[in-house]
Structures are given as C-alpha cells and as structure tokens.
Symmetry: C2
Subunit: 123 residues, 2 copies
DNA sequence: CTTATATTCAACCCACTGGTTGAATGAGAT
DNA sequence: ATCTCATTCAACCAGTGGGTTGAATATAAG
C-alpha cells in the first residue's frame, strides 16, 4: 500500500533520519563534502554498496545533493529538509519547555548524555 | 540487522515521526488526551486496530503515555523525545540559517561590521 | 587500448511495518 | 451473571528497508 513513492516530504525526512548510519553520514557531511568511498570508510562493518544506498535515501529526502568531480560523486549536505522538520517539531516546543521547568535534571541529562559516538557535537 | 529491539531512542523517535497518521495523532493529542476510538474516528479509512498499533509505536518511542479512565486508555502526549530530536536537529541550524542569511552576512562583511547576523528568533 | 578507481545496478535474503480480519480480554452498565 | 463498549492480541499478507554479493558502468591514468 501507500503507493511506494508517494510519501510526503516530512515523512521522507524523518524516515531518512531514523537510521543511525545515515545520521552519522550527515554529521560527517556537516564538516565537508565527501564521496561514497570516503563515507564508507567510516563504517568498516558495512559494505560500500550499502552506504551508496543510504546516500540514495538521503538524496530522495533532499538531505544531500550530489556533484561530480573527476570520477567521484561527492555528497553535499542540504539542510532545508532539516529546517522543515525543525519547524514541525517547533510546534511542540511549549510542551517540553513546560516540562523543562519541572524536570531540570532530566533536561541536563538529555542535553549532556546526548547522542553517543557517531552523533555530532565534536570539533 | 538491528537486533529487533535495539534501536536507539533517536531512531525510534524519528521512525515514529516518519508516518503521517502518527503525526496527525500527535497533533490531535497536543489538544488534549484521547482514547483509541476517539483517535480512530479521525481516520475513517483505517481500522481501529491499525490506530491501536500506531499508538503502540508512539508509546515505544516514548511519545505518548497511556492512562486508564473507566474502560478507556487515554493517550497523553509526552514531548521529551521531541525535545531530544529537536536538540539533534539544532546542530544543523547554522546550515539553514546560513543560507537564509547569506546575503546579509556578506553585506556585513563588506562593511567590516562585527557579528552582524540577524537574530534567529523564531524557529 | 588496457587497467585501475569510484560508484551504481541487480538479484536476493530476511526482518520489520502498515494494514487487514477475527477472536479475546477488561471493565462499566443492567 | 450478562451484556456491551473499548481496546488489544493473533495470524496473516504485501510491501519496504537494510544488508549482502557479483556484475556493470563511468572516468582517469598508463
């Protein structure tokens, strides 16, 4: 069902973001463009082809654009869909801001413990 | 292959958000708690059981908590995972803010001005 | 032209997802 | 106890998703 290619932009974006490998790819891309092999080197456990597929998912969601330099097809981060997702989430902001008032400690944990390893935060 | 129940919180959250039906449920819940039948009434096209399953997905992601009032199990919005997702996305904020503000920044630089940048404000 | 590099295509596997229907459970109402 | 409403469980189906391997397609370099 769901007609296979008919998902809306938000669903594509959240769907693309729902995978740790892809989030790591985006984090890497946030530090500069990179080709498939270069990205694949970050994931010794999975094949180059799998990374290529991840890139295609990100591309379909509009989160990366691909160029062509020599025989490479470097991926470039596009943040527009992230902005859209962010805007969608922002609607719920007052809910968690409310709970932040009551649960300051929990907030500290959310922001401090944060995404392990692969996630952004470095540099 | 992801070991079935081993996804991290962020993946569960984004995964739960990647479905329009579930996003609609959350939107409805943002206006007040509701039971399954009440929520199912919003989706004449799909069965009550399907809605119940969606609720379970949202629950697994921590986006809703369930209570018990009479013979109903009202769903209640929990925004903490949204806050986490928001925090993750926030890392990429400067990318889209940059493109929105690129012209302004460029002008500021030409004038030798300091940290001009327009206040993010909204979001 | 041949070879090496970078990436994609194709076929396949299996787990998970979104949906269905039908039966089972839980808890008020009578 | 029985009936009824609200919800979940169970079995099933088709489609998708993440992964694999092997072959194919550019493009650069010798």
């Amino acid at each position: 069902m769901a007609a296979a290619g008919t998902s809306d932009a938000l669903s594509l974006t959240f769907g693309a973001l729902a995978d740790p490998t892809r989030r790591t790819i985006l984090a890497r891309l946030s530090e500069g463009d990179a080709g498939v092999s270069e990205l694949a080197a970050l994931f010794p456990a999975i094949s180059l082809q799998a990374v290529s597929k991840h890139l295609q998912v990100l591309e379909r969601a509009g989160l990366v654009a691909r160029g062509r330099i020599a025989r490479q097809r470097p991926a470039h981060l596009r943040a527009e869909p992230i902005a859209e997702a962010s805007a969608w989430l922002a609607y719920y902001r007052h809910f968690y801001e409310e709970s932040l008032d009551r649960l300051g400690e929990h907030l500290a944990r959310l922001q401090g413990a944060g995404p392990a390893g692969s996630e952004p935060g470095g540099s």
